[in-house]
Amino acid sequence: MADVQNTTGSTTAGSIEVGTAGAGAQLAGPGTGRAAVQQPIDARVAVKPSYDVNDFPVPHGREEDWRFTPLHRLGGLHDGTAATAERGEDKVEFTLPDGVTAETVGREDARLGKAGTPVDRVAAQAFSAFEQALVVTVPKDAVLTEPVKIDVRAEGGVRFAHVVIDVKPFAEAVVVLNHEGTGTRAANVELLVGDGAKLTFVSVQDWDRDAVHVAQHNALVGRDASFKSVVVTFGGDLVRLHPRVNYAGPGGEAELFGLYFADAGQHLEHRLIIDHDTPHCRSNVAYKGALQGQDAHAVWVGDVLIRAAALGTDTYELNRNLVLTDGARVDSIPNLEIETGEIVGAGHASATGRFDDEQLFYLMARGIPADEARRLVVRGFFAELLQQIGVAEVQEQLMEKIETELESAV
């Protein structure tokens, strides 16, 4: 029986603005009293995916999927100018456990483009313009005890990147893609999770303050496979990530966790789509962000589609934001679109709270100094999410990063 919740809550105060457009779940199907919605379900998927940048018009900022993004800060990734600008270089270091391979391949390699197609102009631009792709393969049945690490240090200029992580059936792997340095970057990351395989993919955006990074992550989750995405965004001037999940067979499970910390002037945007078109799959989304400083801006859009064929789907998505100072802005929009009532559960929640003067006073009145009070609250806010990552090394690294962010607190 369908257990449909619509618990979009938001706490607003001061200068916090919480986007509500489209926040209500659009419910349709048996038991909802509404006719099933015919295609196109949603404006965001109505755009026909394509590998060719010319199939997308140049966005102007009023389009639904671009309306929060400051286009003038994209470094020309959206309007073709970046494609003709000077290309930059990456320094990449690999940590590859036994059996895992990393290859640099040309555009014609048959393994590219299997997990999903670019859904916006920047992703298509990246696909149209990349010169070489990286293919990391975890062989069938390999159960890795150490993470695969890909440490990317960008050294300025424009980069169009393409990465394929191919985890073969019944293999288990943790892959950490770490980004540092600076530059203007558009990328597609393909995550192929074979039948019965388990992949934890961690993407860390620890950029220098002036970096621009736009990327689409396409996961294709095999039959009875488990996929966990952990997206951690701290750095950059503008970061816009687009994690997407599709299921290749029934019994697949996807967990998408995200953690971001926006400082003054930073624009950090995460747009997720989970497309349930296969029966008996699960998804769980939890993104948490903290913001501090003037014009710190976080955007979170979580779209979950449950198509008519996706019987027995179980999904939940959550976004929480903690605003630490005045002047920050959050837009948080969960969308749930359901074409069948024959599901296990579907729900979403979004809330933006504020670390306010009263909380600070309460903690200080117990002897806790102001900076420690703020740390206590932020640590507590992220702790629960960190525990769910399940990779001790990554958890520790992230906690350290959070501490560093807090030390720069205003």
Partner: protein, 254 residues
């Protein structure tokens, strides 16, 4: 012996049409071991006194002095006041999402005591204090004040009082919103702290009900932003019978 001396204290808040004076010259001395009840009608300024002593940023001190053992309390930040031994049990404790009670208590105790309490002793100390207040051990894992009932919030405040062992405890309407059982449990907690003889207690209340459980040494009637009458416990009986009418009619209250 610790002494809190409040002299001619004037406090204002920012209102729409400029600052509004709420405390209009408060004089009061609280010594360690003593219990003073501050009683007054709504709007008389008694809560403002409590929050001003703790240093809430909403209130601006415009005149007078507050000394704790000769140290200028008004010069101290909020956390420094707590470390100096001033404790405010709040009428409306705020929620702190994501911070567990156990983490909060230990962080506070570490700050106030100047060093982290030894873990094993601390666990025992918290356990006993919670048991005495009839609090479920699971309470320690909940987030501070999040989803707490009125009674739970007040027990949690008194739990902090017992653990932080201040020199001066200011209890702002700790009795409000409590049923008889909860009032008794909370009052017993306050009495345990009082019985050590090491705390001066400032009990701010609207009702005389809590004074059946906590015997004050002094009762002060607060009206119009200052103390208008002081006496012993018998003054509370008079208020019980006659209410605040005499003080309000005099135009002393706003």
């Amino acid at each position: 012996m610790a002494t809190l001396e409040i002299r001619d204290l004037h406090v204002s808040v920012e209102a729409e049409n400029g600052p509004r004076e709420i405390l209009k010259g408060v004089d009061l001395t609280v010594k360690q071991g003593e219990t003073h009840a501050i009683m007054g009608p709504n709007g008389s300024g008694k809560s403002t006194l409590a929050y001003s002593l703790a240093g809430h940023p909403k209130y601006t001190v415009t005149g007078g002095s507050v000394l704790l053992d000769g140290e200028d309390v008004l010069e101290m930040s909020v956390d420094e006041r707590a470390k100096a031994g001033v404790f405010l049990a709040m009428q409306y404790p705020v929620e702190v999402p994501g911070v567990s009670v156990s983490n909060f208590l230990r962080t506070a105790a570490t700050a106030v005591r100047g060093e982290a309490p030894k873990l094993r002793l601390w666990v025992k100390e918290v356990k006993e204090a919670m048991a005495a207040l009839q609090m479920d051990p699971a309470f320690a894992e909940r987030n501070v004040n999040e989803g707490f009932s009125g009674g739970e919030k007040k027990r949690h405040e008194i739990l902090q009082l017992e653990l932080l062992k201040p020199k001066i405890a200011i209890l702002d309407e700790t009795d409000s919103g409590l049923d008889v059982d909860a009032l008794r449990i909370v009052s017993e907690g306050i009495n345990r702290v009082r019985s050590t003889g090491e705390v001066g207690t400032l009990l701010v209340t609207h009702y005389t009900r809590i004074l059946r459980y906590i015997q004050p040494d002094y009762v002060h009637v607060f009206a119009g932003g200052r103390i208008v009458e002081s006496g012993g416990a018998e003054l509370a009986d008079k208020l019980e019978n006659e209410g605040y009418e005499a003080y309000v009619k005099g135009g002393a209250s706003e």
